[in-house]
Protein backbone atom coordinates (compact mmCIF):
# COMPACT_ATOMS: atom_id res chain seq x y z
CA UNK A 1 0.00 0.00 0.00
CA UNK A 2 1.54 3.26 -1.05
CA UNK A 3 0.36 6.76 -0.53
CA UNK A 4 1.51 10.21 -1.48
CA UNK A 5 0.85 11.44 2.06
CA UNK A 6 3.86 12.23 4.21
CA UNK A 7 4.78 9.70 6.90
CA UNK A 8 4.87 12.28 9.65
CA UNK A 9 2.73 15.32 10.05
CA UNK A 10 4.62 18.50 10.95
CA UNK A 11 4.27 19.38 14.61
CA UNK A 12 3.70 15.90 15.98
CA UNK A 13 6.12 12.98 16.01
CA UNK A 14 3.90 10.03 16.85
CA UNK A 15 6.82 7.59 16.77
CA UNK A 16 8.54 9.61 19.51
CA UNK A 17 5.36 9.99 21.61
CA UNK A 18 4.94 6.20 21.64
CA UNK A 19 7.86 5.94 24.05
CA UNK A 20 5.56 7.46 26.68
CA UNK A 21 2.99 4.66 26.29
CA UNK A 22 4.44 1.45 27.77
CA UNK A 23 1.58 -0.75 26.56
CA UNK A 24 2.22 0.03 22.90
CA UNK A 25 5.60 -1.68 22.93
CA UNK A 26 4.22 -5.19 23.30
CA UNK A 27 3.57 -8.02 20.85
CA UNK A 28 0.10 -9.49 20.35
CA UNK A 29 -0.25 -12.85 18.63
CA UNK A 30 3.39 -12.64 17.60
CA UNK A 31 3.00 -9.25 15.94
CA UNK A 32 3.69 -5.73 17.19
CA UNK A 33 0.49 -4.38 18.74
CA UNK A 34 -1.34 -1.93 16.48
CA UNK A 35 -3.86 -0.28 18.77
CA UNK A 36 -6.71 1.27 16.78
CA UNK A 37 -9.43 1.19 19.43
CA UNK A 38 -8.86 4.53 21.14
CA UNK A 39 -12.47 5.64 20.65
CA UNK A 40 -13.39 2.83 23.06
CA UNK A 41 -10.61 3.62 25.47
CA UNK A 42 -7.29 5.36 24.97
CA UNK A 43 -3.93 4.16 26.23
CA UNK A 44 -2.30 6.06 29.09
CA UNK A 45 1.13 7.67 29.06
CA UNK A 46 3.65 7.17 31.88
CA UNK A 47 2.97 10.75 33.01
CA UNK A 48 -0.62 9.81 33.88
CA UNK A 49 0.32 6.53 35.56
CA UNK A 50 3.03 8.33 37.53
CA UNK A 51 0.73 11.17 38.63
CA UNK A 52 -1.83 8.77 40.07
CA UNK A 53 0.85 6.62 41.69
CA UNK A 54 2.63 9.67 43.16
CA UNK A 55 -0.60 10.88 44.68
CA UNK A 56 -1.36 7.49 46.22
CA UNK A 57 2.23 7.07 47.38
CA UNK A 58 2.74 10.50 48.95
CA UNK A 59 -0.47 12.44 49.47
CA UNK A 60 -3.45 10.09 49.59
CA UNK A 61 -6.01 11.38 52.03
CA UNK A 62 -9.68 12.34 52.25
CA UNK A 63 -10.33 15.66 50.51
CA UNK A 64 -12.43 18.55 51.83
CA UNK A 65 -12.35 17.28 55.42
CA UNK A 66 -9.86 16.79 58.21
CA UNK A 67 -7.27 19.20 59.52
CA UNK A 68 -4.13 17.19 58.96
CA UNK A 69 -1.35 17.99 56.54
CA UNK A 70 -2.09 15.20 54.06
CA UNK A 71 -5.77 16.16 53.92
CA UNK A 72 -4.83 19.70 52.97
CA UNK A 73 -2.33 18.52 50.39
CA UNK A 74 -4.79 16.07 48.84
CA UNK A 75 -7.46 18.77 48.70
CA UNK A 76 -5.08 21.18 47.00
CA UNK A 77 -4.06 18.56 44.42
CA UNK A 78 -7.69 17.61 43.82
CA UNK A 79 -8.81 21.21 43.29
CA UNK A 80 -5.74 21.98 41.17
CA UNK A 81 -6.77 19.03 39.01
CA UNK A 82 -10.24 20.50 38.65
CA UNK A 83 -8.80 23.84 37.55
CA UNK A 84 -6.50 22.12 35.05
CA UNK A 85 -9.22 19.97 33.49
CA UNK A 86 -11.70 22.86 33.45
CA UNK A 87 -9.08 25.04 31.77
CA UNK A 88 -8.53 22.33 29.17
CA UNK A 89 -12.12 22.84 27.95
CA UNK A 90 -12.00 26.61 28.38
CA UNK A 91 -14.02 26.64 31.59
CA UNK A 92 -13.65 28.03 35.11
CA UNK A 93 -13.07 25.53 37.95
CA UNK A 94 -16.55 25.98 39.41
CA UNK A 95 -18.03 25.03 36.03
CA UNK A 96 -16.55 21.52 36.18
CA UNK A 97 -18.30 18.74 38.11
CA UNK A 98 -16.42 15.47 38.60
CA UNK A 99 -18.33 12.42 37.47
CA UNK A 100 -17.40 8.79 36.97
CA UNK A 101 -17.64 9.33 33.22
CA UNK A 102 -19.89 10.66 30.48
CA UNK A 103 -22.69 8.15 31.15
CA UNK A 104 -22.83 9.33 34.74
CA UNK A 105 -22.76 12.97 33.61
CA UNK A 106 -25.68 12.53 31.22
CA UNK A 107 -27.71 10.61 33.79
CA UNK A 108 -26.94 13.31 36.35
CA UNK A 109 -28.43 15.93 34.03
CA UNK A 110 -31.44 13.77 33.16
CA UNK A 111 -32.22 13.02 36.81
CA UNK A 112 -31.61 16.62 37.90
CA UNK A 113 -34.15 17.76 35.29
CA UNK A 114 -36.49 15.02 36.48
CA UNK A 115 -36.11 16.34 40.02
CA UNK A 116 -36.82 19.89 38.80
CA UNK A 117 -39.96 18.50 37.16
CA UNK A 118 -41.00 17.14 40.56
CA UNK A 119 -40.63 20.65 41.99
CA UNK A 120 -37.21 20.20 43.59
CA UNK A 121 -34.74 23.07 43.38
CA UNK A 122 -37.29 25.79 44.00
CA UNK A 123 -38.25 28.62 41.69
CA UNK A 124 -34.90 28.84 39.95
CA UNK A 125 -35.17 25.21 38.82
CA UNK A 126 -38.69 25.66 37.44
CA UNK A 127 -37.24 26.62 34.04
CA UNK A 128 -36.07 22.99 33.64
CA UNK A 129 -39.39 21.38 34.63
CA UNK A 130 -40.96 19.31 31.87
CA UNK A 131 -44.67 19.20 31.15
CA UNK A 132 -46.41 16.33 29.33
CA UNK A 133 -46.06 17.06 25.63
CA UNK A 134 -42.83 19.01 26.02
CA UNK A 135 -40.18 17.76 23.63
CA UNK A 136 -36.71 16.38 24.21
CA UNK A 137 -34.67 16.26 21.03
CA UNK A 138 -31.69 14.03 20.38
CA UNK A 139 -30.24 12.65 17.14
CA UNK A 140 -30.24 9.39 15.20
CA UNK A 141 -26.48 9.00 15.62
CA UNK A 142 -26.11 9.07 19.40
CA UNK A 143 -24.25 6.66 21.64
CA UNK A 144 -26.75 4.82 23.84
CA UNK A 145 -25.46 6.91 26.77
CA UNK A 146 -26.93 10.03 25.14
CA UNK A 147 -30.17 8.32 24.18
CA UNK A 148 -31.46 6.03 26.91
CA UNK A 149 -31.29 8.60 29.77
CA UNK A 150 -33.57 10.82 27.64
CA UNK A 151 -35.89 7.92 26.83
CA UNK A 152 -36.21 7.33 30.57
CA UNK A 153 -36.64 11.04 31.35
CA UNK A 154 -39.41 11.26 28.73
CA UNK A 155 -41.09 8.17 30.18
CA UNK A 156 -40.96 9.64 33.71
CA UNK A 157 -42.25 13.08 32.79
CA UNK A 158 -44.61 12.58 29.87
CA UNK A 159 -42.29 14.52 27.60
CA UNK A 160 -41.96 13.39 23.98
CA UNK A 161 -38.59 12.22 22.63
CA UNK A 162 -37.78 13.15 19.04
CA UNK A 163 -34.71 12.68 16.89
CA UNK A 164 -32.84 14.80 14.38
CA UNK A 165 -32.32 12.41 11.44
CA UNK A 166 -28.99 11.66 9.82
CA UNK A 167 -28.46 11.55 6.08
CA UNK A 168 -26.98 8.48 4.37
CA UNK A 169 -23.59 10.24 4.32
CA UNK A 170 -23.62 10.51 8.13
CA UNK A 171 -24.24 14.25 8.40
CA UNK A 172 -27.08 15.54 10.56
CA UNK A 173 -30.05 16.92 8.63
CA UNK A 174 -30.07 20.53 9.77
CA UNK A 175 -33.17 21.36 7.70
CA UNK A 176 -35.03 18.70 9.62
CA UNK A 177 -33.51 20.02 12.86
CA UNK A 178 -34.79 23.52 12.06
CA UNK A 179 -38.32 22.24 11.62
CA UNK A 180 -38.15 19.88 14.62
CA UNK A 181 -36.90 22.50 17.06
CA UNK A 182 -39.95 24.51 18.08
CA UNK A 183 -41.86 26.08 20.93
CA UNK A 184 -42.26 22.76 22.76
CA UNK A 185 -38.57 21.82 22.53
CA UNK A 186 -37.08 22.03 26.02
CA UNK A 187 -33.82 20.15 25.64
CA UNK A 188 -31.52 19.30 22.72
CA UNK A 189 -28.88 16.62 23.39
CA UNK A 190 -26.37 15.77 20.68
CA UNK A 191 -22.88 14.53 20.15
CA UNK A 192 -19.98 16.71 19.08
CA UNK A 193 -18.46 13.79 17.18
CA UNK A 194 -20.22 10.45 16.63
CA UNK A 195 -18.22 7.48 17.93
CA UNK A 196 -19.23 5.58 14.79
CA UNK A 197 -18.94 8.22 12.07
CA UNK A 198 -16.10 10.48 13.24
CA UNK A 199 -17.72 13.55 11.68
CA UNK A 200 -17.53 16.82 13.64
CA UNK A 201 -21.13 18.01 13.96
CA UNK A 202 -22.26 21.64 13.50
CA UNK A 203 -22.54 22.59 17.17
CA UNK A 204 -22.94 26.33 16.57
CA UNK A 205 -25.90 25.85 14.22
CA UNK A 206 -27.69 23.48 16.59
CA UNK A 207 -27.02 25.72 19.60
CA UNK A 208 -28.42 28.71 17.67
CA UNK A 209 -31.60 26.80 16.81
CA UNK A 210 -32.02 25.66 20.42
CA UNK A 211 -31.41 29.14 21.81
CA UNK A 212 -34.13 30.64 19.64
CA UNK A 213 -36.68 28.57 21.53
CA UNK A 214 -34.96 28.66 24.92
CA UNK A 215 -34.10 24.94 24.95
CA UNK A 216 -31.28 23.60 27.12
CA UNK A 217 -28.37 22.15 25.11
CA UNK A 218 -26.36 19.11 26.21
CA UNK A 219 -23.22 18.13 24.31
CA UNK A 220 -21.52 14.72 24.35
CA UNK A 221 -17.86 15.71 23.92
CA UNK A 222 -16.36 12.24 24.52
CA UNK A 223 -14.98 11.89 21.01
CA UNK A 224 -13.90 15.50 20.58
CA UNK A 225 -12.17 16.32 23.88
CA UNK A 226 -9.04 14.21 23.21
CA UNK A 227 -8.86 15.00 19.51
CA UNK A 228 -9.40 18.69 18.75
CA UNK A 229 -9.14 22.08 20.44
CA UNK A 230 -12.21 22.38 22.64
CA UNK A 231 -13.64 25.58 24.11
CA UNK A 232 -17.01 24.67 25.59
CA UNK A 233 -18.02 28.24 26.62
CA UNK A 234 -17.24 29.42 23.08
CA UNK A 235 -19.42 26.64 21.64
CA UNK A 236 -22.26 28.09 23.70
CA UNK A 237 -23.68 24.80 24.99
CA UNK A 238 -25.37 24.80 28.38
CA UNK A 239 -23.96 21.45 29.51
CA UNK A 240 -21.35 19.03 28.20
CA UNK A 241 -19.80 15.73 29.26
CA UNK A 242 -16.58 13.85 28.62
CA UNK A 243 -14.88 10.67 29.88
CA UNK A 244 -11.36 10.59 31.28
CA UNK A 245 -10.42 7.14 30.01
CA UNK A 246 -11.00 8.16 26.39
CA UNK A 247 -8.56 11.09 26.72
CA UNK A 248 -5.42 9.37 28.04
CA UNK A 249 -6.73 9.47 31.60
CA UNK A 250 -7.76 6.82 34.11
CA UNK A 251 -11.03 4.91 34.29
CA UNK A 252 -13.70 6.07 36.70
CA UNK A 253 -13.43 9.81 36.21
CA UNK A 254 -15.04 12.26 33.83
CA UNK A 255 -16.33 15.78 33.69
CA UNK A 256 -19.66 17.56 33.48
CA UNK A 257 -19.28 21.14 32.28
CA UNK A 258 -22.09 23.59 32.80
CA UNK A 259 -22.68 27.28 32.22
CA UNK A 260 -22.63 28.90 35.66
CA UNK A 261 -26.26 30.01 35.65
CA UNK A 262 -27.40 26.54 34.55
CA UNK A 263 -25.46 24.63 37.20
CA UNK A 264 -26.57 27.13 39.85
CA UNK A 265 -30.23 26.54 39.02
CA UNK A 266 -30.16 22.73 38.74
CA UNK A 267 -31.17 20.63 41.74
CA UNK A 268 -28.85 17.78 42.72
CA UNK A 269 -29.14 14.17 41.52
CA UNK A 270 -27.12 12.14 44.03
CA UNK A 271 -27.28 13.36 47.62
CA UNK A 272 -25.32 12.59 50.76
CA UNK A 273 -22.03 13.65 52.24
CA UNK A 274 -19.85 16.48 50.90
CA UNK A 275 -22.65 18.32 49.07
CA UNK A 276 -24.41 20.02 51.99
CA UNK A 277 -24.19 23.18 54.08
CA UNK A 278 -26.54 22.37 56.98
CA UNK A 279 -28.31 19.13 57.78
CA UNK A 280 -31.10 18.39 60.22
CA UNK A 281 -33.00 15.16 60.67
CA UNK A 282 -35.74 16.58 58.49
CA UNK A 283 -33.89 18.31 55.69
CA UNK A 284 -30.71 19.78 54.27
CA UNK A 285 -29.38 22.73 52.37
CA UNK A 286 -26.94 22.26 49.57
CA UNK A 287 -23.62 23.68 48.53
CA UNK A 288 -23.32 25.68 45.32
CA UNK A 289 -21.91 23.98 42.20
CA UNK A 290 -19.79 22.07 41.58
CA UNK A 291 -19.93 20.43 45.05
CA UNK A 292 -23.74 20.26 44.95
CA UNK A 293 -23.37 17.53 42.33
CA UNK A 294 -20.50 15.66 44.02
CA UNK A 295 -22.11 13.63 46.78
CA UNK A 296 -19.94 11.02 48.44
CA UNK A 297 -16.28 10.18 48.01
CA UNK A 298 -14.85 11.45 44.76
CA UNK A 299 -12.38 9.69 42.42
CA UNK A 300 -9.48 11.77 43.69
CA UNK A 301 -6.59 9.73 42.29
CA UNK A 302 -8.22 9.36 38.85
CA UNK A 303 -8.99 13.10 38.79
CA UNK A 304 -5.31 13.86 39.41
CA UNK A 305 -4.43 11.35 36.70
CA UNK A 306 -6.84 13.06 34.32
CA UNK A 307 -5.27 16.43 34.99
CA UNK A 308 -1.90 14.90 34.01
CA UNK A 309 -3.57 13.55 30.87
CA UNK A 310 -4.92 16.91 29.73
CA UNK A 311 -1.54 18.51 30.48
CA UNK A 312 0.02 15.88 28.23
CA UNK A 313 -2.51 16.56 25.47
CA UNK A 314 -1.99 20.30 25.88
CA UNK A 315 1.81 19.99 25.76
CA UNK A 316 1.61 18.07 22.48
CA UNK A 317 -0.95 20.59 21.28
CA UNK A 318 -4.54 19.91 20.28
CA UNK A 319 -4.15 21.61 16.91
CA UNK A 320 -1.20 19.35 16.08
CA UNK A 321 -3.09 16.30 17.37
CA UNK A 322 -6.13 17.17 15.26
CA UNK A 323 -4.00 17.70 12.15
CA UNK A 324 -2.17 14.41 12.72
CA UNK A 325 -5.33 12.39 13.31
CA UNK A 326 -7.20 14.02 10.42
CA UNK A 327 -4.35 13.03 8.11
CA UNK A 328 -4.53 9.46 9.43
CA UNK A 329 -8.31 9.49 8.83
CA UNK A 330 -7.78 10.66 5.24
CA UNK A 331 -5.17 7.98 4.64
CA UNK A 332 -7.42 5.29 6.15
CA UNK A 333 -10.55 6.43 4.31
CA UNK A 334 -8.74 6.69 0.97
CA UNK A 335 -7.23 3.23 1.45
CA UNK A 336 -10.46 1.56 2.53
CA UNK A 337 -12.37 2.96 -0.46
CA UNK A 338 -9.96 1.14 -2.77
CA UNK A 339 -10.58 -2.29 -1.20
CA UNK A 340 -13.40 -4.23 -2.92
CA UNK A 341 -16.36 -5.07 -0.69
CA UNK A 342 -15.69 -2.38 1.90
CA UNK A 343 -18.46 0.09 2.68
CA UNK A 344 -17.59 3.12 4.80
CA UNK A 345 -20.25 4.40 7.19
CA UNK A 346 -20.76 8.14 7.00
CA UNK A 347 -18.60 8.80 3.96
CA UNK A 348 -19.56 12.47 3.64
CA UNK A 349 -17.16 14.60 1.60
CA UNK A 350 -15.79 17.91 2.77
CA UNK A 351 -16.53 17.53 6.47
CA UNK A 352 -14.19 17.93 9.44
CA UNK A 353 -13.29 14.56 10.95
CA UNK A 354 -11.46 12.94 13.82
CA UNK A 355 -9.31 9.88 13.16
CA UNK A 356 -11.86 7.10 12.95
CA UNK A 357 -13.79 5.11 10.38
CA UNK A 358 -16.38 2.39 10.78
CA UNK A 359 -16.94 0.02 7.89
CA UNK A 360 -18.82 -3.04 6.73
CA UNK A 361 -17.06 -5.93 5.02
CA UNK A 362 -19.36 -7.49 2.42
CA UNK A 363 -20.01 -11.15 3.20
CA UNK A 364 -18.01 -11.18 6.45
CA UNK A 365 -19.47 -10.51 9.88
CA UNK A 366 -17.70 -7.79 11.85
CA UNK A 367 -16.70 -10.20 14.60
CA UNK A 368 -14.99 -12.48 12.12
CA UNK A 369 -13.24 -9.52 10.50
CA UNK A 370 -12.07 -8.31 13.92
CA UNK A 371 -10.77 -11.78 14.79
CA UNK A 372 -8.77 -11.87 11.57
CA UNK A 373 -7.27 -8.44 12.31
CA UNK A 374 -6.46 -9.52 15.88
CA UNK A 375 -4.42 -12.41 14.51
CA UNK A 376 -2.25 -9.71 12.90
CA UNK A 377 -1.89 -7.88 16.20
CA UNK A 378 -4.40 -5.20 15.17
CA UNK A 379 -6.92 -4.13 17.82
CA UNK A 380 -10.15 -2.67 16.42
CA UNK A 381 -13.68 -2.49 17.79
CA UNK A 382 -16.38 -4.72 16.34
CA UNK A 383 -20.09 -4.61 17.09
CA UNK A 384 -22.61 -1.78 17.20
CA UNK A 385 -20.35 0.46 19.30
CA UNK A 386 -23.31 1.30 21.57
CA UNK A 387 -25.07 2.91 18.60
CA UNK A 388 -27.53 0.23 17.54
CA UNK A 389 -30.12 2.58 15.97
CA UNK A 390 -27.48 4.09 13.65
CA UNK A 391 -26.37 0.62 12.53
CA UNK A 392 -30.00 -0.31 11.92
CA UNK A 393 -30.29 2.75 9.67
CA UNK A 394 -27.38 1.39 7.62
CA UNK A 395 -29.07 -2.02 7.46
CA UNK A 396 -26.45 -3.83 9.55
CA UNK A 397 -26.17 -5.00 13.14
CA UNK A 398 -22.42 -4.57 13.51
CA UNK A 399 -19.43 -2.89 11.91
CA UNK A 400 -15.66 -2.75 12.25
CA UNK A 401 -14.27 0.49 13.69
CA UNK A 402 -10.67 1.62 13.53
CA UNK A 403 -9.99 4.67 15.69
CA UNK A 404 -6.68 6.48 15.97
CA UNK A 405 -5.09 8.65 18.61
CA UNK A 406 -2.02 10.84 18.74
CA UNK A 407 0.25 7.79 19.15
CA UNK A 408 -0.77 6.07 15.90
CA UNK A 409 1.41 6.25 12.82
CA UNK A 410 0.85 6.22 9.07
CA UNK A 411 2.68 2.88 8.96
CA UNK A 412 0.09 1.39 11.29
CA UNK A 413 -2.73 2.61 9.04
CA UNK A 414 -0.98 0.97 6.09
CA UNK A 415 -0.65 -2.30 8.05
CA UNK A 416 -4.37 -2.17 8.79
CA UNK A 417 -5.22 -1.53 5.14
CA UNK A 418 -3.03 -4.44 4.08
CA UNK A 419 -4.77 -6.72 6.58
CA UNK A 420 -8.28 -5.54 5.65
CA UNK A 421 -7.58 -6.30 2.00
CA UNK A 422 -7.08 -9.97 2.99
CA UNK A 423 -10.28 -10.43 5.03
CA UNK A 424 -12.74 -11.40 2.31
CA UNK A 425 -10.36 -13.89 0.72
CA UNK A 426 -9.72 -15.60 4.05
CA UNK A 427 -13.44 -16.08 4.68
CA UNK A 428 -14.22 -17.03 1.07
CA UNK A 429 -16.43 -13.99 0.57
CA UNK A 430 -14.99 -12.88 -2.77
CA UNK A 431 -16.92 -15.33 -4.94
Amino acid sequence: MTSALPQTIPGLDAAALRADFPILGQQVNGRPLIYLDSAATSQKPRQVLDAERDFLTHANSAVHRGAHTLAAEATDLFEDARATVAGFVGAAPEQLVWTSGATMGLNLVAYAIGNATLGRGGASAARFALQPGDEILTTAIEHHANLIPWQELAARTGAVLKHIPAREDGTLDLDAAASLIGARTRLVAFTHVSNVLGIVNPVAELVALAREVGAVTVLDACQSAPHLPLDLPALGVDLAVFSGHKMLGPYGVGGLYGRAEVLEALPPFLTGGSMITTVTLDGAEYLPPPQRFEAGTQPVGPAIGLSAAVRYLGDVGLAAIHAHESALATRLGDGLRQIPGIRLLGDAAGVERVGLWSFDVDGVHAHDAGQFLDSRGIAVRVGHHCAAPLHRQYGITASVRASAALYNTADEIDELLDAVSGIRAYFGAES
Partner: protein, 147 residues
Protein backbone atom coordinates in the same frame (compact mmCIF):
# COMPACT_ATOMS: atom_id res chain seq x y z
CA UNK B 1 -2.04 -24.66 12.16
CA UNK B 2 -2.30 -21.10 13.47
CA UNK B 3 -4.78 -20.32 16.26
CA UNK B 4 -6.84 -18.42 13.69
CA UNK B 5 -7.00 -21.42 11.36
CA UNK B 6 -7.80 -23.56 14.40
CA UNK B 7 -10.75 -21.29 15.08
CA UNK B 8 -11.98 -21.05 11.50
CA UNK B 9 -11.76 -24.68 10.39
CA UNK B 10 -12.91 -25.30 6.84
CA UNK B 11 -15.91 -27.17 8.27
CA UNK B 12 -17.00 -24.07 10.15
CA UNK B 13 -16.77 -21.83 7.12
CA UNK B 14 -18.69 -24.47 5.08
CA UNK B 15 -21.52 -24.65 7.61
CA UNK B 16 -21.73 -20.86 7.89
CA UNK B 17 -22.01 -20.51 4.12
CA UNK B 18 -24.38 -23.47 3.69
CA UNK B 19 -26.29 -23.66 6.96
CA UNK B 20 -28.25 -26.87 7.60
CA UNK B 21 -31.85 -26.83 8.88
CA UNK B 22 -31.93 -23.07 8.15
CA UNK B 23 -35.36 -21.50 7.74
CA UNK B 24 -37.74 -21.57 10.66
CA UNK B 25 -40.60 -24.10 10.37
CA UNK B 26 -44.15 -22.97 10.98
CA UNK B 27 -45.20 -23.09 14.60
CA UNK B 28 -47.83 -25.77 13.89
CA UNK B 29 -46.65 -29.00 15.44
CA UNK B 30 -43.55 -27.47 17.01
CA UNK B 31 -43.69 -27.22 20.77
CA UNK B 32 -40.26 -25.91 21.57
CA UNK B 33 -39.06 -22.48 20.43
CA UNK B 34 -36.43 -20.16 21.82
CA UNK B 35 -35.07 -16.80 20.71
CA UNK B 36 -31.61 -15.89 21.94
CA UNK B 37 -29.66 -12.70 21.45
CA UNK B 38 -26.07 -11.71 22.16
CA UNK B 39 -26.36 -8.04 23.13
CA UNK B 40 -22.63 -7.43 22.66
CA UNK B 41 -22.67 -8.04 18.92
CA UNK B 42 -26.36 -8.13 18.03
CA UNK B 43 -26.22 -11.78 16.94
CA UNK B 44 -29.53 -13.57 17.26
CA UNK B 45 -30.91 -17.03 16.73
CA UNK B 46 -34.41 -18.48 16.88
CA UNK B 47 -34.48 -22.25 17.15
CA UNK B 48 -37.58 -24.41 16.91
CA UNK B 49 -38.20 -28.15 17.35
CA UNK B 50 -40.89 -30.69 18.03
CA UNK B 51 -40.48 -32.91 21.06
CA UNK B 52 -42.34 -36.16 20.49
CA UNK B 53 -44.62 -37.34 23.27
CA UNK B 54 -43.94 -41.04 22.69
CA UNK B 55 -40.18 -41.37 22.30
CA UNK B 56 -39.37 -38.08 23.93
CA UNK B 57 -37.14 -37.29 20.96
CA UNK B 58 -36.18 -34.02 19.27
CA UNK B 59 -37.60 -33.75 15.74
CA UNK B 60 -37.86 -31.20 12.94
CA UNK B 61 -35.14 -28.87 14.23
CA UNK B 62 -35.08 -25.59 12.31
CA UNK B 63 -33.53 -22.24 13.05
CA UNK B 64 -32.88 -18.84 11.64
CA UNK B 65 -30.78 -15.94 12.69
CA UNK B 66 -27.92 -13.68 11.84
CA UNK B 67 -24.45 -13.30 13.18
CA UNK B 68 -20.82 -14.22 12.82
CA UNK B 69 -19.63 -17.39 11.13
CA UNK B 70 -19.03 -19.09 14.48
CA UNK B 71 -22.59 -18.55 15.72
CA UNK B 72 -24.15 -19.54 12.40
CA UNK B 73 -21.98 -22.61 11.90
CA UNK B 74 -22.61 -23.70 15.47
CA UNK B 75 -26.39 -23.53 14.96
CA UNK B 76 -26.11 -25.53 11.75
CA UNK B 77 -23.91 -28.21 13.35
CA UNK B 78 -26.12 -28.45 16.43
CA UNK B 79 -29.24 -28.93 14.34
CA UNK B 80 -27.61 -31.77 12.42
CA UNK B 81 -26.40 -33.35 15.64
CA UNK B 82 -29.59 -33.43 17.70
CA UNK B 83 -32.14 -34.30 15.03
CA UNK B 84 -33.89 -37.43 16.34
CA UNK B 85 -31.96 -37.46 19.61
CA UNK B 86 -33.64 -38.13 23.00
CA UNK B 87 -33.90 -34.89 24.94
CA UNK B 88 -31.96 -36.21 27.96
CA UNK B 89 -29.04 -37.06 25.70
CA UNK B 90 -29.20 -33.59 24.12
CA UNK B 91 -29.06 -31.99 27.56
CA UNK B 92 -25.95 -34.00 28.40
CA UNK B 93 -24.32 -32.93 25.13
CA UNK B 94 -25.14 -29.25 25.79
CA UNK B 95 -23.53 -29.48 29.24
CA UNK B 96 -20.43 -31.13 27.81
CA UNK B 97 -20.22 -28.58 25.00
CA UNK B 98 -20.42 -25.69 27.47
CA UNK B 99 -17.76 -27.23 29.70
CA UNK B 100 -15.37 -27.75 26.77
CA UNK B 101 -15.89 -24.25 25.39
CA UNK B 102 -15.27 -22.65 28.76
CA UNK B 103 -12.11 -24.69 29.33
CA UNK B 104 -9.77 -22.14 27.71
CA UNK B 105 -8.30 -24.77 25.40
CA UNK B 106 -7.99 -27.52 28.03
CA UNK B 107 -10.83 -29.82 26.86
CA UNK B 108 -11.48 -31.17 23.37
CA UNK B 109 -14.83 -32.10 21.90
CA UNK B 110 -14.98 -35.77 20.87
CA UNK B 111 -15.77 -36.07 17.17
CA UNK B 112 -17.53 -39.41 17.73
CA UNK B 113 -19.95 -37.67 20.10
CA UNK B 114 -20.23 -34.19 18.62
CA UNK B 115 -19.82 -34.86 14.91
CA UNK B 116 -19.09 -31.72 12.89
CA UNK B 117 -19.58 -29.61 16.03
CA UNK B 118 -16.30 -31.03 17.36
CA UNK B 119 -14.66 -28.56 14.95
CA UNK B 120 -15.74 -25.81 17.37
CA UNK B 121 -13.13 -27.03 19.87
CA UNK B 122 -10.79 -24.22 18.79
CA UNK B 123 -13.27 -21.59 19.99
CA UNK B 124 -12.39 -22.39 23.60
CA UNK B 125 -9.04 -20.61 23.16
CA UNK B 126 -10.91 -17.39 22.28
CA UNK B 127 -12.88 -16.44 25.38
CA UNK B 128 -14.55 -13.51 23.58
CA UNK B 129 -16.07 -15.92 21.04
CA UNK B 130 -17.43 -18.60 23.40
CA UNK B 131 -20.79 -16.81 23.55
CA UNK B 132 -20.99 -16.86 19.75
CA UNK B 133 -20.61 -20.64 19.66
CA UNK B 134 -22.95 -21.15 22.63
CA UNK B 135 -25.86 -19.08 21.26
CA UNK B 136 -27.70 -21.89 19.44
CA UNK B 137 -26.96 -24.40 22.21
CA UNK B 138 -28.45 -22.06 24.80
CA UNK B 139 -31.47 -21.68 22.49
CA UNK B 140 -31.94 -25.46 22.37
CA UNK B 141 -31.47 -25.75 26.13
CA UNK B 142 -34.12 -23.08 26.66
CA UNK B 143 -36.46 -24.61 24.07
CA UNK B 144 -36.22 -28.02 25.77
CA UNK B 145 -36.97 -26.44 29.14
CA UNK B 146 -40.08 -24.79 27.67
CA UNK B 147 -41.36 -27.88 25.86
Amino acid sequence: MSDLDGLYRELILDHSKHPQHFGLAAEDGANATSHQRNPVCGDEITLRARITSDGDAIRDVTWEGSGCSISQASASMLSDLVEGMPRTEARTLIDGFREALRSRGQLELDEDVYGDAAALTGVSKFSARVKCAMLAWVALEDALARA
